[in-house]
Amino acid sequence: MVGAPGGVTAVGELEHLARQARRLIVQSIFTAQAGHLGGPLSAVDLLVALYFAVLKVDTSQPRWPNRDRFVLSKGHSSISLYAVLALRGFFPIAELATFDALDTRLQGHPDMTRLDCLDMSTGSLGQGISAAVGMALGAKLQDSTFHTWVMIGDGEIQEGQVWEAALIAARYHLDNLTVILDANGLQQFGWGHGSDLERRPPAEHASAAFRAFGWEVLDVDGHNMAAILDAYRQALTIRGHPTLINAHTVKGKGVSFMEHSFNWHAKVPTQHDVERALQELQDPV
């Protein structure tokens, strides 16, 4: 059916898909011998829920004009989006092995000129959210019914442009815009010394800040599928204000030795790491 969500709303099935996506993410980064890991892993539950339960898209018409829009503003987490797009059916899962390769459609940061199911090119932080604001504003001007979603990171909100976008979105009452903040508590290097766990979070008070800018804010556990679905449904009912979903996540979620670690921001796993990770990510019997 044109423009239907993936039709998957059962929590168990979404968790299954997320586990599969995690396996694909780890394998793809190993194959490419390059790429980011911590951020893709923190984002994947949010992306699976969005693409399978909520987004009105058509895999046979990736550029269908009234489709819901999604912008991965934290573009370095591209492998996560690619894994979800593949699982959703936009391109073959086998193509994930071409991530970061020469001539690939799956560029290290999303490139809309190479892959037609991407709504914007991103990679320079703070920029995707502005483009999403433009899409939502355009929808208002044309009376289009599509909803625009955009994912930002908590390191990313250190970029001033994010706040420029936040001010404008609220001023234009873009209630057809939802920003998902993948707040995994870390960035690439960050502040702190000693062990990983001493790193200070990139940004605190995000919820209070967005509220102060006139946004509706929903705080959610970014790894609890039921809570994520609830938040998405609620976001779609908000009127008069754009919505921020502050999703509290864990960097590297799903692979025990990658969790809570800034070191795994963009480290290539060894063969041994991959085997350990896949072991942990096996489907329960």
Partner: protein, 312 residues
Amino acid sequence: MPQQVVAMREAFGTTLVELAKEYQNLVVLDGDLANSTRVDIFANAVPERFLEMGIAEQNMVGVAAGLATVGFIPWVSTFAVFLAKRAIDQVRVVVAQPHLNVKLAGGYSGLLTGKTGKTHQSIADISVFRAMPGMTVIAPADSMECRQAMVAATAYDGPVYLRITRDLSPLIFDDAYQFVLGKAVPLRQGADLAIIATGVQTVRALQAADLLAAEGIQAYVLHVPTIKPLDEDAVLETAARCGRVLTTEDHTIVGGLGGAVAELLSEKLPTRVHRHGLRDTFGECGSNDELLERYAMTPAHIAAAARTLLSR
């Protein structure tokens, strides 16, 4: 030289209104400078398509990119210096790299910015946008050409940077003129040397040619409104015809029109080129006449540069 003087920025504003009638999907974004850049003319005439974006140029460019992806033709208006410098990464990532249909209008370009001084004088925008793959860069000589260039730019599918000036300046084109995107325009015949110019500096180049003619020096004048893509054939033909080339622009001599001409000729037809313009310096406050004098940008200075070129 015709008597009529019109401010290019006013032509810019009124042409946007005209274009809005033909293009229902045309919108204008402003960075809180509408009454300076004159998009306030559009704001008053077509308020439903005027989008105030506040003092946030980087976001404004991103919003324009998003609008372009959902079927609009956005004209983004602010001072040239903020597009070329402050928001340049945004132009690169979400406009140029995906080749989106966004039109960037840089107002208050060049030295003459109503005494706002060095932070507001955009003297390297041509260099910056020339080095941007996929960008089209246009610097019209007068209000008539500005209007026609905007018509062409809006009809063209892809990113465009248009360089606009603030103050009253002479009209050199009339209704008979036909601007063609990518084509240079010979404006004066002569064989002793060629003066290749762009933007409002072309007007001063013509005035310089008159001064030279009084001394028996006949200068060929080639106006280059589209700096990128450069009309290479016209530049090569001009160099072959005249043997010596003086470029002049209200812009740094580093990487702008002068750079483009020098790059081309050194590779394809080595010719003695003298680049006239701002000599790798920032600007400052002063009256228009004072600035043109201090920075050696008057017709008399262009003529002096021509004589120097000829003496080598």
